[in-house]
């Protein structure tokens, strides 16, 4: 069986929640307030990204922050665990790390703090 839409199916809590919009690899994804990033992405899609060490794709595994299978990136370079991060309206996400190293605000770090 191969349904076209997302991997996850909403079976409860669909009545009262506000709608959100985020983007993933430039595509618009619609979600609900209270969704994790994982729920938001996988109710619309089948996977998050390609596996780094094999031919398969990744779609999360433990949903409790232990397995690190659900990594996605913000466009500014910050890596997220999709299962532990609440989706926010306007979030811009991607399936891989940006090619340019992110500005991580190193000038506020402890080495340069007077």
């Amino acid at each position: 069986m191969r349904p076209a839409a997302g991997r996850f199916v909403r079976v409860a809590e669909t009545e009262t929640r506000a709608r959100l919009t985020l983007s993933f690899d430039g595509e618009t994804v619609s979600a609900l307030e209270g969704d994790t990033v994982l729920t938001a992405l996988l109710t619309a899609r089948r996977s998050l990204r390609k596996a780094e060490f094999g031919p398969e794709r990744r779609a999360g595994f433990c949903l409790m922050g232990a397995c690190q299978d659900c990594w996605v990136w913000q466009e500014d370079g910050v890596r997220l665990q999709a299962c532990r991060t609440p989706a926010r309206d306007g979030m811009r996400l991607r399936s891989g790390a940006p090619e340019i190293w992110p500005d991580i605000g190193a000038d506020t770090g402890p080495e340069t703090t007077p």
Partner: protein, 454 residues
């Protein structure tokens, strides 16, 4: 004031915090969750409307009581709660924590670890496909997100969670194609006797849930392989107790063989470990109260896999031990110790009723992925043995079994089983993977943004 740090705000951590607060201490409690409750009593995000009865079933009263207790402690300022925070290292009385992308350091005098457990996983050929999840993941998704992880689900493995999650999913309207329990009925009956003697009501409740699964439930199943295409699982191939080949078509699979204690922090804190033949895993050593070292206390499923009720008791006991060691007044633990003994008898019954599938793992084909993180195969592990010898940490160094991002949480036991099977050693001799900080991957940016004051 003595600084007591509690790691984990599940049933054990919450009861420990409550007990310390009642004695006038103000513990800090660090937890990865958004809201306290832990995994089994995990709370949905604000705005979700299902009542506790629908989320927690027969355990709703306990869940609500625990949440209320903790929220009250926080509201009254009697505990310092750090949510969304991960302890990734412990050294010299300092907990290294990442919260909101920033590293913080918290010094403590005494430490209570209530780190819980996660699913105990065994590889099944094809389990690296997207759409294969842990059983716990299926439950978390349903409880805290209101989603099923696929349109047609196969649940496989063994343990109380298998029946419970199947029941919860079916009740929520999900399509469960099959529930495959690798435990044969004979083992279940034998373990079930000890379970029923220790906790008759809980055992009966489990049997009722099981009966409701009806034709979905198959005991004594052998899992052969997860068929998948690029989009994920398409079917699970298995054999029933009579050995007949069966195929269950599906687009999602959940796997889990009871629980694995989360012990990385206990290891870093200096706890001693022993191989537990009952729970079939390495567990930290502690006295009946949970003392595991000087100023170190362990409670809940991270110490002994007794479940939520046992965790509440163990949390109180660890806090009482902590108070007594500080020469502070604490209530008499006698009653809790007796209850804990009963929980232990029950849990031992559970462990023997729903055993780890040792033979299945030892017989895995070479191309089976053993480490999901890095795609290390069973053959990779077997071929490393000639150089590494039969020792878990050396096999990790050479074949990277346990070196990936989950840090061995989901492959350590299967890896040890394969080494033991190949070399004729016992699991105890194969050894235990030493925990290494950081116990979770931490972005470098979090260190650069560390609070300079701490």
């Amino acid at each position: 004031m003595t600084r007591v740090l509690i790691v984990g705000a599940g049933p054990a951590g919450i009861r420990a915090a409550e007990t310390l607060a009642a004695a006038g201490l103000r513990p800090q409690i660090v937890d990865e969750g958004e809201r306290a409750g832990g995994q089994i009593y995990r709370r949905p995000p604000p705005g979700f409307t299902r009542p506790p009865r629908s989320l927690y079933g027969s355990e709703a009263t306990k869940a609500v009581a625990l949440h209320r207790t903790f929220d009250g402690l926080v509201r009254e300022g009697r505990v310092d709660h750090l949510p969304r925070a991960t302890v990734f290292a412990l050294a010299d009385g300092v907990a290294h924590i990442v919260q909101e992308g920033t590293v913080r350091r918290i010094a403590y005098d005494r430490l209570i670890l209530a780190t819980g457990a996660s699913d105990r996983l065994a590889p099944v050929p094809g389990w690296q496909a997207p759409g294969v999840y842990s059983l716990g993941a299926m439950q978390i998704a349903l409880k805290s997100q209101g989603v099923a992880l696929g349109r047609r689900l196969v649940l496989a493995g063994s343990g109380p969670l298998l029946t419970l999650v199947a029941h919860q999913l079916i009740k929520a309207g999900a399509d469960v194609a099959a529930v495959l329990d690798t435990a044969p009925l004979a083992a279940q009956a034998a373990g079930g006797v000890s379970m029923a003697l220790a906790r008759p009501l809980v055992t009966l409740r489990g049997l009722v849930l099981r009966a409701r699964l009806g034709r979905h439930y198959h005991p004594g199943a052998t899992l052969d392989r997860i068929e998948a295409d690029a989009g994920g699982p398409t079917a699970l191939r298995w054999r029933d107790a009579a050995g007949r080949a069966r195929v269950s078509s599906c687009d999602a699979v959940a796997l889990g063989w009871h629980l694995r204690a989360e012990t990385h922090l206990a290891d870093l804190a200096g706890a001693r470990f022993e191989w537990s033949p009952i729970w079939h895993q390495w567990l930290p050593v502690a006295d009946a109260m949970g003392r595991a070292g000087n100023g170190l206390y362990l409670a809940g499923d991270g110490l002994r896999l007794l479940g939520a009720d046992g965790a509440e008791i163990a949390g109180r006991l660890a806090a009482i031990a902590c108070l007594r060691d500080m020469s502070l007044a604490a209530s008499d633990p006698g009653k809790d110790l007796r209850r804990l003994a009963r929980m232990t008898s029950f849990a031992k019954g559970v462990a023997s009723a729903f055993p780890w599938p040792a033979d299945m793992v030892r017989n895995l084909s070479g191309e089976t992925v053993l480490c999901r993180c890095e795609g290390v195969t069973v053959a990779d592990a077997r071929s490393a043995l000639a150089l590494a010898g039969p020792e878990a940490n050396r096999v990790k160094s050479l074949a990277r079994v346990g070196m990936g991002r989950c840090q061995g949480r989901y492959c350590q036991l299967a890896g040890a089983e394969i080494v033991a099977g190949e070399t004729g050693r016992t699991l105890c001799e194969v050894g235990r993977l030493r925990a290494q900080p950081p116990v979770r991957p931490i972005p470098v940016s979090a260190f650069l943004q560390a609070d300079p004051d701490t």
